[in-house]
């Protein structure tokens, strides 16, 4: 069943008010007892709804769901398109093209993306970049980094690599050598394995359905 936010909101507020009034029969609204009941009731009802929605949300964002793709999505071509019915951009997962010249099984893809996530955390990426819009603001948002035109228009040429994934992996190992802006990313001593894993993580992340954030990335039509 699809959860509707309006019904949920009205039910939560209605239940809180009615239950508070019922429990506080006989006391005026300026008495401590009334507000003590209101505090207990609202905390319990809102926490209850949060737990219920969490069960639903966790199921919807499990890897391999409609919103968060399975890790083997790194084998496929990924893009964005405007969904004019929903009035927002949605990821498009297209034909199999391989990644670093091979097709990765789901287990291999999991191991690679997992390594990429560990690398991301071990290098504190979030203390300069944002991921899904969260983090620090010293460097660009990485939500759709895999789809950024700059890899094709600039970084491939700089690094002399033939594919986007190779150019990204090379750039990530030596960001200090390939400046794009007055602010340069420091060299964080990524091994080749870590750099490739990080590229896999970024490619996987770019296929997550983020309700249209960021809007019209690179002018998507």
């Amino acid at each position: 069943m699809e959860i509707s936010w309006i019904e949920t909101t009205i039910a939560a507020l209605f239940a809180t008010v009615v239950l508070t009034l019922w429990l506080s029969r006989g006391s005026g609204w300026l008495e401590p007892r009334f507000w003590r009941n209101a505090a207990i009731v609202s905390s319990l009802i809102m926490s209850g709804i949060l737990v219920y929605l969490t069960v639903d949300s966790v199921n919807q964002i499990r890897e391999g769901s409609a919103r968060v793709p399975a890790y083997a999505v790194i084998n496929r071509e990924i893009g964005l398109k405007r969904d004019y019915e929903k009035r927002r951009d949605v990821p498009v997962i297209a034909k199999e093209v391989g990644f670093f010249g091979k097709i990765w099984s789901e287990e291999e893809a999991y191991a690679l993306v997992n390594k990429g996530k560990m690398t991301l955390q071990s290098r504190n990426c979030m203390d300069c970049h944002t991921l899904l819009g969260n983090g620090a603001y010293f460097a660009p948002d990485l939500t759709r980094a895999w789809l950024d035109p700059k890899w094709e228009t600039m970084v491939k040429g700089m690094t002399g690599k033939a594919t986007r994934e190779e150019a990204m992996a090379e750039w990530l190992q030596h960001p200090d050598r390939y400046p794009t802006f007055a602010r340069r990313m420091p060299n964080l001593n990524l091994s080749e394995e870590e750099a490739r894993a990080l590229v896999a993580f970024l490619k996987w992340m770019s296929a997550i359905d983020t309700n249209g954030f960021p809007d019209r990335f690179a002018g998507v039509q």
């Binding site: 949920t8 003590r36 809102m46 997992n114 996530k117 071990s122 035109p149």
Partner: protein
């Protein structure tokens, strides 16, 4: 109402509270220092490049803040709890042990942050160097330590309430809030490669701490403070506290949804998060109403002038910083473009300062009054006014500068530029953005000066007062 020891005598718990306060203030200094280094790196990207990178300064800036605010809250509770319950805190030796463990652990974590900075992409790094998740970067071993310290703290509070045989409304709220606070931290102690799942529970710590349990914790501390500061009757204070809990939890728990707009979570969070987080300023308005009423009743005069001013700054700062600056960007239609721009730190700086820094400073000034000159009916100095004004100007200046920069990013990078790498660079090099970063640094220096004035005042207030109590009496 509440019971105090004979004049000049302190509970052991209150002596411990002072230790908490001084360490908190030292870490406040570290926060300001690393913040300034990071702010300077916006202006001169080559500064300390490759040696002490922005990421490390920024991590130290925000982690120092989390830890010092927590230490300040714990100090506030250790200070007021024995007064509230009329007895010494139970398990004080354990509490002292927890304090020194925490300080030692913080020292080790900071040294590792500074000297090691980062590690290879494996579990060992996450356990011993950094977990790499904004705000809760602390390595896993330190997480376990934090939970252990919180458990001891919780034991102190609950055992003292039980032993005292009287559960006041404030003590009850405090107990349940601390249980939630300690429990929520554990939601942030897991690893998953799935970034959506990761951020879903990461926000349980970051949002449900800062926008729910911390608000109520600080509400409890302010409730105890107001009873002593203004002699507000318990019935009124407790009614307001219940009202605040009802509104903060009633709006803030589902207000969590404003962090679930864009992380892969279902669409119903757009409506739920937008609606409930838009209501989050309501309890803050209620507190402003209460503060204005109280201040008017007492004509801005009390036994402790600096504490009164910081308490009023708390109500206004919380409303403006958390309420207004938060509301500004909380609706999904706006947040789609403003999310992840300098508008977020503009809100963050003003809100953390307004809601939490001010509250801790209120508690510290009240504690110093009792420690230094409990005989003085009016605790005052010349310097605190300078610290107060400079600090408020500094934080507003920084936030205003970041707001202008954030609007520039929202427009140039997000609305027009399509959010790409190049669009990011264009916004960052836009004159409005660059001016914003210059002014942020200037006001940051202001803030550092105000911090030094504040520390000087805290170190000296009441000490030089040679007049007898009756000569400085406010109530004649």
């Amino acid at each position: 109402m509440t019971q105090a020891l004979p004049q000049g005598k302190l509970y052991e718990s209150q002596k411990l509270a002072l230790w908490y306060f001084w360490v908190a203030l030292a870490l406040f200094g570290a926060q300001v220092l690393f913040g300034l280094l990071a702010a300077w790196q916006y202006l001169d990207p080559g500064f300390l490049y490759g040696k002490l990178n922005f990421m490390t300064n920024r991590m130290l800036h925000i982690n120092a803040m989390i830890v010092w605010l927590l230490l300040g809250f714990m100090g506030g509770v250790y200070w007021f709890l024995p007064l509230e319950l009329g007895r010494e805190v139970v398990g004080i030796r354990l509490a002292r042990f927890a304090f020194f463990t925490l300080v030692a652990a913080v020292g080790v974590v900071v040294l590792v942050y500074l000297l090691v900075q980062y590690g290879p992409g494996n579990a060992l790094t996450l356990w011993f160097i950094t977990e790499g998740r904004e705000y809760i970067e602390a390595p896993r071993w330190a997480d376990i330590g934090i939970v252990a310290v919180m458990a001891i703290f919780l034991y102190n509070v609950v055992a003292t309430v039980i032993r005292s045989g009287r559960i006041t409304g404030v003590a009850a709220v405090l107990m349940f809030d601390l249980i939630a606070l300690a429990g929520l931290y554990m939601a942030g102690m897991h690893y998953t490669p799935n970034i959506s799942m990761d951020q879903y529970f990461w926000w349980w710590v970051v949002h449900l701490w800062v926008e729910a349990t911390w608000e109520v914790l600080v509400g409890s501390i302010m409730a105890m403070a107001l009873m002593h500061l203004l002699g507000t009757p318990r019935r009124i204070v407790e009614t307001w506290l219940y009202l605040e809990v009802a509104l903060v939890f009633g709006t803030g728990i589902l207000g969590l949804g404003h962090h679930y707009f864009w992380i892969g979570t279902p669409e119903y969070w757009l409506g739920l998060g937008g609606f409930f987080s838009a209501l989050e300023p309501i309890p803050l308005v209620a507190m402003v109403v209460h503060a204005v009423y109280d201040a008017g009743m007492h004509r801005m005069q009390t036994v402790n002038q600096p504490a009164l001013f910081w308490a009023i700054a708390q109500a206004f700062g919380n409303f403006v910083g958390a309420g207004v600056w938060g509301f500004m960007q909380t609706l999904p239609q706006i947040n789609l473009y403003s999310h992840g721009t300098q508008l977020a730190p503009a809100h963050g700086h003003l809100a953390f300062f307004g809601a939490y820094v001010t509250a801790i400073l209120t508690a510290i000034y009240m504690a110093l009054h009792q420690v230094r000159r409990p005989d003085l009916p009016r605790f005052d100095s010349k310097l605190w006014k300078w610290a107060f004004v400079l600090m408020v100007v500094g934080i507003f200046g920084m936030s205003a500068a970041m707001t202008v920069a954030g609007f520039t990013q929202t427009m140039v990078e997000r609305a027009i530029g399509g959010s790409t790498w190049q669009a990011y660079i264009e916004a960052q090099t836009h004159p409005w953005f660059q001016n914003g970063m210059v002014w942020r640094f200037v006001f940051g220096v202001f803030f550092l000066i105000s911090y030094l004035v504040l520390i000087w005042d805290l170190a000296t207030i009441g000490k030089g007062e040679t007049r007898a109590a009756k000569e400085v009496g406010a109530h004649d």
